[in-house]
Assembly symmetry: C3
Homo-oligomer: 350 residues x 3
């Protein structure tokens, strides 16, 4: 399976990249990340072209990284700018790849394909999870031993919630008048999985956020998927038929970046407009998101992948349910984008 | 190497399958085992056909297993009988494989091949290790990182005993009149490795079992092999030339079930007709069998397999000794049965 | 990648082979090493030809090794000389390979190729690291998860020292008159990487060895490489322009023996002619060599190999610097010797 290369992938949370250079692998490529003295974030190849030493173990010198093995220095464009040995001459080929890197919405975004095609205006609009007035945000990250499309499938089919996340569901029979509505929508290459629960009890989570809630309410969980694997969940509760301002909103980002075919960087963030400034609540919510994923979703996805024995889901001819429709739609969009990229690369001059 | 599929393999000890569903892999296939409310044991595929979730992590509901990921339910025939989502319709293909499973002689027996050919009357007769009046039985199991044929070889050539199991042998020179007789016998597809020691000292093990034994005695160790890898050892001591009732009998079962090509479920049981009801002795005997295998045979078999670098013994052109004859005979019978199965499968309609 | 087989490889330090048989893998072949009662060291195949049991777990009996599984015995020529079963007849094919093994300069040397070509006079002259009057020697060994050629590269290009081994370098700017000279020399199949530092400060290491040293001195570090992977470093300090007797000499051996393509036995020894008999200093020096390699070189080489994703350095088209010249020269000599061996083996009768 190939990856879509001409696309923005989340490289991590901006706040997590400090003074120390770090390395992360995206799409099987080890990348070095560091910040220059002016704060600008840089992404270049992690592998020194001389002896293939890990550059992130080197030292930063004047905004350049010094290879820890023999001391070659590379600048933010990936060019070798210093050879400490002999007459100091620098072979022409001494350079590493430079990756377009943008900082947007509190996240770093990396472009793994052709730099000439990198257009920052195509980074997904995730302003909902930015720090801004009237909102609090918690965020985190996990490394999951599962293929990124399996993770997206999980997020696009929330019918697993009552089975995998008992504490996020309500117990007992549904109340009178309860109804559940789901819908699939596609706009261009964007896929939406819309879920609406009407006359639903207020879950323990929303009781934490909402003072004096009604007996029952309306809950929305609209997941938006954009290629390659960027998911934004518009979720919240209101009184039945009421406007969004009526109750708490909890917009949540799920950014999935393949590390390898069988492992994924999972970056998540959750904003809220209720009980802003309540630090203990922020910690509770962060722990809640993290624990649900780490203890419930992640083991299940890893188990499934192990039993699949491959990452190519469709080759196993899975028995599909109507609840799989959004996930399958997203898979088709992505497969088609990958195929277009493959054909473009195969063209003369491609 | 392929496995013989149309055969009964021991799936485990019946007493070890309780109220909780469990999973074991046989012949590379992960299988779910559980008991219905009436006590009947069931074996179906472990892998949900929807998203390949591990069914043994699900809950039993009305004799059906509920998938832990999205809640599909499968009955003991492997059919999906409940979809909790949407209109509840069930895709036709939503089913897992059902395996014929029998309970016999205190063990569970699974048929990994064509169900239509599963005939319970062909399960090996192992009544010797059943709980019955006048006999005590101890049993256990180990997972061994060795190919099942290497384990069978080990059991069919007891000439390793003095070298690998010093405590099961006698020290020093053989007593006057000592003689050793071994014989190979084949009846149909059953292979026997017969061993008889005449005028042999009473080993420490038999001193535990036999009150007032003679100075020297006769010891038999007749191993019976049936395809695919079921071994029954008729062993015991008598006075020289005496009838079996003369001294202790210790019939022992060694049921070998391939997990993968390089690992094996080893189920063993040992019955005795002396000192019945002596619980501390039962514990001692169980520990003895377990320890001898775990600390002496198992490491040796795993070492050999590592040095072989393959599980295909014959491809390495081993130097064979006369003591290998029973093991090689059993390997030939099994190879011929596998070849017959392969040819039947290749025939039109096979 | 193939290995040069017709060559002497260091099998270990002679002092480390005692009464107990041991096993080591060289060039992917597991070898059994033991000493006969007269002290002579023996190397034969580790794998019993009967059931492929690990012979080093057996017992020595009359200078023969007894297989721990079924008791076959093999003598120092690899021939099976005893079968304890049945009529004791020994199959003709029951033998293991015997390897020419020599003891020289405190080391054991093994010949992995055609025995007929093994000529002990071609063992590299490493008398400098032998125990002899006026010299002390420390030695040790490490198993490194890196290809042996990467280790040789490391030793043939000491320009990594200031970056990887800060404590072996001097701090701050070079003193007045400091100069550095390096040279590459080839004599037959022997490659020399010559390094000379003139007017260099006395490093902490040499201050330990040299009483009343001058303010600055001359330091030589001449590495000699012989195929397949035997390295001898002539290193020491003198006053500027002075004779070698002027200051401490620290001749050091680095014997690299491939275990597999990705792992290497690294045997090192360091002799000195100053402070002879100072045991605490010997311990300090041994710890120093060991720690520098284990904590600094070894992790770097393993990191590089991981990032290379192969052991075939040249296939990655590394960017080469002038400081790589000796390493590349040695690689070429070795590649040419391997190619000659390959062609000889391909010839009729080869």
């Amino acid at each position: 399976m190939n990856f879509l290369r001409n696309a923005w992938y989340c490289a991590g949370w901006a706040a997590d990249l400090g003074a120390e250079p770090i390395t992360r692998t995206y799409l099987n490529e080890p990348v070095l990340l560091y910040r220059m003295r002016d704060g600008r974030a840089v992404a270049i190849g992690e592998r020194c072209p001389h002896r293939f030493a890990p550059l992130h173990k080197g030292k930063l010198r004047d905004d350049c990284i010094e290879c820890p093995y023999h001391g070659l220095r590379f600048d933010s464009s990936g060019a070798c700018v210093h050879n400490p040995h002999g007459d100091g001459s620098i072979p022409k080929a001494a350079k590493v790849k430079a990756y377009p890197l943008a900082e947007r919405h509190g996240a770093l975004w990396i472009w793994m394909g052709d730099s000439a095609l990198a257009d920052e205006s195509t980074i997904v609009d995730a302003h909902e999870i930015e720090k801004r007035a009237g909102w609090d945000v918690v965020q985190g990250q996990l490394n999951v031993k599962g293929n990124y499309e399996l993770l997206a499938d999980n997020l696009l089919d929330l019918s697993h919630v009552p089975f995998l996340h008992p504490f996020l569901s309500f117990d007992g029979p549904p109340p009178p008048g309860f109804s559940f509505h789901s819908d699939l929508k596609q706009e261009g290459d964007t896929v939406y999985a819309m879920n609406l629960l009407v006359n639903t009890p207020i879950s323990p989570l929303y009781k934490l956020l909402w003072e004096n809630p009604p007996e029952v309410g309306e809950m929305r969980a609209h997941m938006r998927w954009d290629a390659p694997s960027t998911l934004l969940l518009d979720t919240g509760m209101t009184s039945v038929g009421g406007p969004q301002s009526d109750g708490p909103s909890l917009p949540t980002a799920h950014f999935l970046t393949p590390e390898t075919e069988t492992s994924t960087h999972y970056f998540w963030a959750q904003a809220r407009d209720h009980k802003v400034g309540d630090e203990p609540l922020s910690e509770l919510l962060a722990k809640g998101v993290n624990d649900a994923f780490q203890n419930e979703d992640e083991p299940m996805i890893e188990d499934c992948q192990k039993l699949m024995g491959t990452t190519d889901l469709m080759s196993l001819k899975p028995v599909l349910l109507p609840t799989d429709a959004p996930a399958i739609r997203a898979r088709r969009v992505l497969a088609s984008l990958r195929e277009k990229e493959r054909q473009a690369a195969a063209r003369p001059g491609g």
